[in-house]
């Protein structure tokens, strides 16, 4: 292909950061459009953050508002930590997309629409009495209306597609135009199309033609006066080799890296399909050669059972789900706690209760993870902050599970699962190593003999001669591992289980402030995927001269051992979280501090301004 126009063209304006949202029908290919734009942007050296937002329906009726699928990306020369509060450019492939997404467009922002899609039928479905392209309702914005349908059809004509197939190339035309606007290459997209449609070269060629046509449209005399090209300079990031990664990919690879770091030969991943956790099963299912065995179980319970059985047999047992599925695994978690086996449970949280909003994100399983079991059943819980952090968190989960012989719940969420960001690819040789040792010595063995330091019991692989033993959910004697209903023994075992988990606090880093001083007027305490918006808001507030710090908690159970002392050094504690107040209650209960909550439960991540407004409101 011809080399694309480089962003040195005269007339291009410079932007530090830009937010684009691609929106259309669920069948319009907005997610692939966004993903390809992300890749080209990453390759151009910008930092970025994405937010795919799609409906639960696979193919909602065409043209409806509830079928709108969107992909938002913020990219820039600066450190980009969120997908952006306000949208600078909205690409709306139909009236429904326009009506749903317009509210997030900043005044003066750009709207790019396919005018052909604004027909009476689609306008009616979107609830427009009049065509907004024809009146002044969009006057606060820069409206760019092109007949993308026709322009695409013209571009793909030589390839002999049906009109339906041609229509499906519209997204590539729009992508081509956007790539031109921001001076991006098209090489990666062309390669991707060739690969994706390797068996249908005609479709690949048509899509490439549409992509090139959109690009050329920006460059040629057809360019309307409002259509301006921009330059977004490269971000200054640490040298190294990079790629983009989603939270799901990072989790999958982190689990494998953790298995290898522990020196475990096999990873058995058992899951049951559930949004938004299934992608982890799909990713791991392609990784057989890394010692990964995946198992799609008949239900969530069986998935957790198979993972626990694998752990019992000496493999790294992993199961994954979202809130409702984790609820079903609860009893098996109790058994994992009672038998003190290492088990990794990934919870990709979503809005609930019950089925809730499967494709929308929330952080509302913190209580379930920390306390949601019958009886006194402590385990370790850690939470991932960003898509790339998922890799490190997965490794850490394996380390804790195997060192302390305990189930570990990893909290991710729907946003992290799909969000992508650039990742400085680690080298395996640089990763932490924590080789485990299976017990093989029969001398003095019993199954609940504890390591005096960690209180962990030995991990014995069935098949080991001389160590044949029986374990189960019944209470066992502290000194022999046999079944015991002795009252004092149960008290002692309950203490031992609690002490073991509490002792993990001695094995994890001390809590520090991510930003700001470790004392002062106000600390924002966050966990999980709210990291980006909180960090950004605190950064801005500090630039405004406010005395505010950001504390991000990764270890949810047990908490870092200095967390209470650290929090007590601030006058006020504010806890933004995407639930109705869970971490804030845990902190209050644990440390008797008057922490205040800031809840957001709309199924969407925090905006920076929402957190910033709260900081300003608390007079820090």
């Amino acid at each position: 292909m011809a080399s694309s126009t480089l962003p040195s063209s005269p007339g291009r304006e410079i932007r530090d950061s830009v937010v684009i949202r691609f929106a259309g029908d669920s069948g319009d290919g907005m997610q692939v459009t966004g993903t390809q734009f992300m890749l080209e942007t990453a390759l151009a050296g910008n930092d970025l953050s994405t937010f795919p937002d799609f409906p639960a329906e696979i193919r909602a009726p065409a043209g409806t508002t509830f079928g709108v699928s969107a992909f938002q990306i913020q990219f820039g020369a600066v450190d980009v930590m969120t997908p952006g509060d306000e949208v600078d450019v909205l690409v709306a492939m139909n009236p429904a997309a326009l009506t749903v997404e317009l509210k997030d467009l900043r005044v003066g922002g750009t709207i790019i629409v396919d005018s052909a899609a604004f027909n009476e039928r689609n306008l009616g479905k979107a609830g427009y009495a009049k065509n907004p392209l024809d009146d002044d309702s969009l006057a606060p914005y820069q409206l760019l209306k092109f007949d993308i349908t026709k322009l695409t059809a013209d571009a793909v004509k030589p390839h002999g597609l049906s009109s339906r197939e041609a229509h499906l190339c519209r997204n590539m035309w729009a992508l081509g135009l956007l790539l031109w606007m921001y001076g991006r290459e098209r090489t990666a997209t062309v390669e991707w199309l060739k690969q994706k449609f390797a068996k249908k070269p005609q479709i690949a060629d048509a899509n490439i033609a549409a992509l090139n046509a959109g690009h050329a449209f920006g460059e040629t005399a057809e360019m309307p006066e409002h259509l301006v090209g921009y330059v977004v300079p490269k971000a200054h990031v640490r040298p190294g080799r990079y790629r983009t990664v989603s939270g799901t990919e990072a989790l999958a690879w982190g689990l494998v890296a953790g298995m290898r770091a522990a020196g475990i030969e096999k990873l058995v991943f058992a899951g049951y399909p559930i949004t938004p956790a299934s992608a982890l099963l799909h990713t791991l299912a392609t990784m057989r050669q890394y010692g990964v065995v995946t198992f799609q179980a008949e239900d969530e319970i069986a998935a957790s059972g198979a993972a626990l059985g694998a752990a019992y047999a000496g493999a790294l047992g992993v199961t994954s789900s979202s809130g409702p599925g984790i609820a079903l695994k609860t009893e098996m978690l109790g058994l994992a706690i009672a038998t003190e086996l290492p088990l990794i449970v990934i919870d990709s949280q979503r809005a609930g209760p019950s089925t809730g909003m499967p494709t929308k994100t929330e952080q509302s399983d913190l209580f379930q993870a920390v306390h949601g079991r019958n009886a006194d059943a402590p385990l370790a819980v850690i939470a991932a902050a960003t898509a790339t952090d998922c890799f490190d968190v997965a490794i850490e989960a394996v380390r804790i599970a195997t060192k302390f012989m305990t189930p570990v719940i990893v909290l991710s969420d729907g946003y992290l699962a799909h969000a992508a960001e650039p990742w400085r690819i680690p080298v395996e040789a640089d990763l932490p190593r924590f080789p485990i040792a299976y017990r093989t010595d029969p001398e003095g063995f019993h199954p609940f003999l504890r390591d005096p330091r960690t209180l962990a019991r030995p991990w014995v692989r069935p098949g080991t001669p001389g160590l044949e033993h029986r374990i189960g959910g019944l209470e066992k004697d502290y000194d022999s591992g046999h079944i015991s209903y002795d009252p004092d023994n149960h008290a002692r075992m309950t203490e031992a289980r609690a002490d073991k988990i509490a002792g993990i606090a001695r094995d994890i880093p001390l809590q520090t402030a991510t930003l700001g001083e470790e004392h002062g007027a106000l600390a924002l305490v966050g966990w999980g995927s709210t990291f980006g918006p909180i960090h950004q808001a605190v950064r801005i507030a500090r630039e405004e001269g406010r005395d505010v710090a950001h504390i991000h908690v990764r270890y949810m159970s047990p908490f870092p051992r200095n967390l209470g002392d650290l929090l007590k050094r601030y006058d006020r504690i504010l806890v933004p979280e995407m639930n109705h107040g869970q971490l804030v209650r845990l902190l209050r209960a644990e440390y008797l501090i008057p922490a205040e909550g800031l809840s957001k439960v709309t199924g969407k991540p925090f905006k920076v301004t929402e957190v910033l407004d709260a900081i300003r409101g608390t007079k820090a």
Binding site: R243, V256, V293, A302, A306, G309, E428
Partner: protein, 339 residues
């Protein structure tokens, strides 16, 4: 604790017993099953170190504690799932699932269905006593209609599930039935089950002496047994009765079995069906027989194929690639930021 080595002398049934006191009710049929399993293990000289007994919850589920092998007493109904995980992690282990009618067919019915259709290489031994024993005598999914129990004081209204019919319906490729008191028959069936590659399902009619005593008396009683049981054997005619004078044959023109007596109405040995344990349709007929027909005992169906976990690993072997993490992480498009 002793280390088992190849040079060990022959292991006796008692060598398969753990040091734990057996805590079933005196007279419980489970004792006989434990004895039969230990005997079968000894006759096969199974390696204790490579053997795992997995159970759910219930009286039968205490079984693993009484064996000197590896054992995992798990969660109600979920033993098949845990056993599947064990086999996926290590296909070399010899895994038994010990379950009951409530554990395996009620709370764990779903797992039973799927473990059988997947054909995971396990011996699944279902102790059927037609009652919930450990919770003190409620009716179970195999209880006959009209069973009076604490939860059904007026008699149960539900129709029972037949364990072997269920197993065949789920796609099991080894289905057998025996009785706790038929000691030598039971040992033989257990040995067949272990020899079978894939999921082998064995229903054992087991007497609960406390809550459902003599519920199988009409089948297992000394006087009744010859006419109430038909012990099937591959390649042998389906004969029963004190003097093997009765047999099963197909009703002419119908897909239906009938009991005939040799010599009556011109019936000869040639009219009697010969058991073919690879014939699924015949197995379904035999499994479904209930009084006044004789209850079929023995290996009703055996038609092995590759087991699930073997196929998983065979398929895995085909998916070749470099097991280098650094290669994996750099597989897609990457870019370099210069220092």
């Amino acid at each position: 604790m002793t280390v088992t080595t190849i040079s060990d002398a022959q292991l006796a049934p008692k060598d398969y017993a753990s040091d734990q006191e057996v805590r079933w009710c005196p007279g419980c049929g489970d004792y006989a099953i434990l004895k039969a399993v230990q005997k079968a293990c000894a006759e096969l000289q199974v390696d204790r170190a490579r053997t795992v007994f997995v159970s759910g919850i219930g009286c039968a589920a205490r079984f693993p504690y009484y064996m000197s092998t590896y054992g995992f007493h798990t969660v109600h109904g979920r033993a098949p799932a845990i056993a599947t995980g064990i086999k996926l992690a290590n296909p070399e282990l010899d895994v038994w699932v010990m379950t009951g009618d409530g554990d395996g067919l009620s709370i764990g019915g779903n797992h039973m269905l799927h473990v059988l259709r997947r054909n995971v290489d396990l011996q699944i031994i279902l102790f059927n006593n037609e009652i919930y024993g450990l919770t003190k005598g409620q009716y179970s999914p195999t209880s006959r209609r009209g069973t009076r129990s604490p939860s059904t004081p007026l008699g149960s209204l539900e129709y029972p599930v037949s364990a072997c019919v269920f197993a065949l319906g789920a796609g099991a490729r080894f289905v057998a039935r025996s009785v706790d008191t038929l000691q030598s028959h039971l040992v033989g069936v257990l040995k067949r089950a272990r020899a079978h590659q894939g999921a082998s399902f064995v229903e054992i009619l087991q007497n609960c002496v406390v809550f459902n005593d003599a519920v199988f008396e009409h089948i297992t009683g000394k006087a009744e047994a010859p006419d109430a049981q038909i012990v099937v054997e591959h390649g042998q005619p389906l004969l029963f009765g004190k003097n093997k004078e009765k047999g099963l044959r197909l009703v002419p023109g119908k897909l239906e079995l009938e009991v005939v007596t040799l010599g009556d109405n011109g019936v000869t040995a040639a009219d009697i069906l010969v058991h073919d344990e690879t014939n699924r349709a015949l197995a379904q007929h035999l499994a479904a027989l209930e009084p006044p027909f004789p209850t079929a005992m023995g290996v009703l169906y055996c038609n092995p194929t590759l087991s699930y976990e073997r196929e998983v690993y065979a398929q895995g072997g085909a998916q070749k690639g470099p097991a280098d993490l650094d290669v994996l992480l750099r597989k897609e498009r990457t870019w370099v930021v210069e220092g």
